[in-house]
């Protein structure tokens, strides 16, 4: 029993790292731009399909392929922001972005469906089933490397946000967009780059997701609801919060699965509701990050 529990916790932490990677993009986009990017789930799947194609067609290892997919997703993100999101105005802007990104997601999903069909696929390089033997536990290398990459990229986003000049202007916009514009920050440019970075990390998240799960064009919907829960729980706009919340939630789900596989997801969402009632700003959010 204790052994199963430990295994479940370890799995939960490792998978949680991957979810954190996908959620960091969402929380960044939300925190800076006040945008709910419903397309994030589909973008993760797009990232997974990019890695899948590079691996199957060009025989490029998914990890090396990241050197191609991350810049590609960055460009896609900047393009989406430039074409659609930067054009929205008015008092209902946040709700409008939700709908616009939903429409963008529909289009991307339709294209993926057209190109790849409805069958589930999985990125399966030769080492997919090999696992490390640590202290009597078997842990898949895919999960370990996924976790390492996730933590490295989340760390990179953290450094970008808190240790660079660019990050300072991002945080200035988070605090007060009008004041940031007054002191000479090019809000539009920073917003576009932030959206690009938020989408770029989905390339890595999607790659690991595609190695550990079978997916098709529809898989984005289940993902986006989980990712939204994670960023709300972590406190919107908080990078560390997203990591903490992702690890917490996925560990919880993984542990509950031991006893009750069918209800594990319900426990996940019920935990979210309970925690939010207790702390409306999320587990790690400061109350004043954004007005509730």
């Amino acid at each position: 029993m204790a052994r199963e529990l430990t295994q479940a916790i370890v799995n939960g932490i490792l998978i949680g790292g991957v979810y954190a990677l996908m959620a960091v993009g969402l929380t960044l986009i939300f925190g800076v731009l006040d945008i709910i990017n419903i397309a994030q789930g589909v973008l993760v799947i797009l990232g997974a399909y990019l890695s899948y194609s590079l691996f199957n067609k060009a025989h490029i290892d998914p990890y090396i392929g990241l050197l191609i997919t991350i810049p590609a997703m960055f460009i896609i993100g900047v393009a989406i922001h430039w074409a659609f999101i930067s054009r929205l105005r008015g008092s209902e802007r946040t709700s409008m972005t939700l709908l616009v990104t939903y429409a963008v997601g529909l289009i991307i999903e339709g294209i993926l469906y057209k190109v790849y069909g409805a069958n589930n696929v999985q990125i399966s390089p030769s080492y997919i089933d090999s696992s490390a033997h640590v202290l009597g536990f078997y842990i898949g290398w895919v999960y370990i490397w996924g976790f390492v990459i996730a933590v490295a990229l989340v760390g990179a986003v953290y450094v970008l946000l808190y240790r660079t000049r660019f990050g300072r202007s991002v945080r200035a916009i988070m605090q007060n967009g009008d004041a940031a514009r007054l002191v000479g920050i090019n809000v539009n440019k920073v917003a576009a780059i932030t959206f690009g970075v938020g989408v770029a990390v989905t390339a890595a998240g999607g790659m690991v997701f595609g190695e550990t799960n079978a997916f098709n064009a529809n898989s984005g919907y289940d993902l986006i609801s989980r990712l939204l829960s994670i960023i709300i729980l972590g406190g919107m706009g908080s990078v560390g919060g997203a990591l903490g919340a992702a690890v917490f939630m996925l560990t919880l789900e993984s542990v509950v699965t031991i006893w009750q596989p069918t209800w594990a997801i319900a426990v996940y969402y019920a935990a979210l509701v309970i925690i939010l009632l207790w702390r409306p700003a999320g587990l790690f959010g400061q109350k004043a990050v954004r007005a509730q």
Partner: protein
């Protein structure tokens, strides 16, 4: 002003007559099918408008009521062995189920605002979908079937059309009554500034709760109609995440915050997406086409086609005269700094 009111009510009468005559003129079941489903969504959209359109709380969990209404009817018909038209007597049960579910749902979700509210409604929605999958009395993933109705295709669709039309008209009347009452004014005060409304003596929680229950009742009722029309419900069709997003999209498409806009959006988008599905040349592309149409409307008529259209007509009629901008449009007009997104808009509420 008097003439305008007269013209308006005249227009409504013409619309109603058209709606009533529609299945008589087009009796083809594949055409009336569009009518039935469009009216189902129009009713649900008005239900959404009563709560979310008035209060500004964007609810993405309406499928909870829709699915619960459908399941309540299906379970009751099965367990009480009801047959044929007697099943319609269960519609009030569906409606009451919606109202009852709205109470705990509202007590949880209405304590938080804005984005947290949106996500809480999504979370509760997924809990309901999972319950429909896993409870012993819901029929699992294969869902529920309804009793058999021995109507021929033409009267079948026509009868359901009139039932759906009655629901839609009822919902519109309720929404209209809510909108012009003191209650509706309190709801809109909450939308504008909840804390200030509270300070002025609006019992915010009670008012929101009442609106949420009305909204849930209407949505669950039409969910029951929808279930009996299609003769079946599965967890992923009754509790469909796309239902929520489509509903919100319809309303923003037609015109957020107005009854006519909500109805219009539903009456356009639902037949449009059904029709796109039937075109063989678009096979596999219909999702892309639908997404593209929505994007174009959202980008070029960001306030919905109804307000934008009305503005356009006003512009033509007042051409050459000094422009008179209606007071309601000032707030939504492009701001003085069009070069950058208004990031600060989030902090105001």
């Amino acid at each position: 002003m008097k003439a305008q009111t007269l013209a308006k009510s005249g227009g409504l009468v013409v619309l109603l007559v058209f709606a009533v005559l529609f299945p008589q003129v087009f009796s083809n079941p594949s055409v009336t099918n569009y009518g039935v489903l469009a009216l189902v969504f129009a009713t649900a959209a008005v239900g959404w408008h009563i709560f979310s359109g008035n209060t500004g709380y964007i609810a993405l969990g309406q499928a909870v009521f829709f699915g619960s209404g459908a399941y309540a009817m299906g379970i009751a018909a099965r367990d009480w062995h009801m047959q044929a038209t007697a099943v319609f007597e269960l519609l009030p049960l569906s409606a009451v189920t919606g109202a009852l579910i709205a109470i705990p749902f509202g007590l949880i979700a209405l304590r938080v605002r804005r984005h947290t509210f949106i996500v809480v409604t999504i979370a509760i929605f997924f809990i309901f979908q999972l319950m429909a999958f896993n409870f012993w009395f819901t029929g699992g993933s294969s869902g529920l079937g309804s009793p058999f109705l021995s109507w021929a295709p033409v009267p079948y669709n026509r009868n359901f059309y009139y039932i759906a039309l009655a629901c839609a008209v009822g919902a519109i009347v309720i929404a209209w009554l809510v909108g012009r009452s003191r209650f509706g004014l309190q709801l809109r005060a909450i939308r504008d500034d909840e804390d200030r409304a509270r300070g002025l003596g609006v019992k915010a929680m009670q008012v929101k709760m009442a609106a949420y229950m009305i909204s849930g009742t209407i949505t669950a009722l039409i969910g029951g109609v929808w279930f009996y029309y299609l003769n079946q419900v599965q967890p992923q069709t009754g509790f469909n995440p796309l239902f929520d997003l489509t509903l919100v999209l319809m309303i923003f498409f037609g015109g957020y915050g107005s009854i006519a806009g909500s109805v219009l959006g539903a009456l356009i988008i639902e037949p449009l997406s059904l029709w796109l599905n039937t075109i063989p040349a678009l096979n596999g592309f219909n999702e892309i086409v639908l997404g593209a149409i929505l994007l174009l409307v959202l980008l070029f008529m960001p306030r919905g086609i109804l307000p934008t259209g009305a503005e356009f007509i006003t512009k033509i009629r007042t051409r050459g005269r000094p422009a008179v901008v209606p007071a309601t449009t000032i707030g939504a007009a492009p701001s003085a700094t069009p070069s950058a997104p208004s990031v600060s808009s989030g902090g105001a509420r």
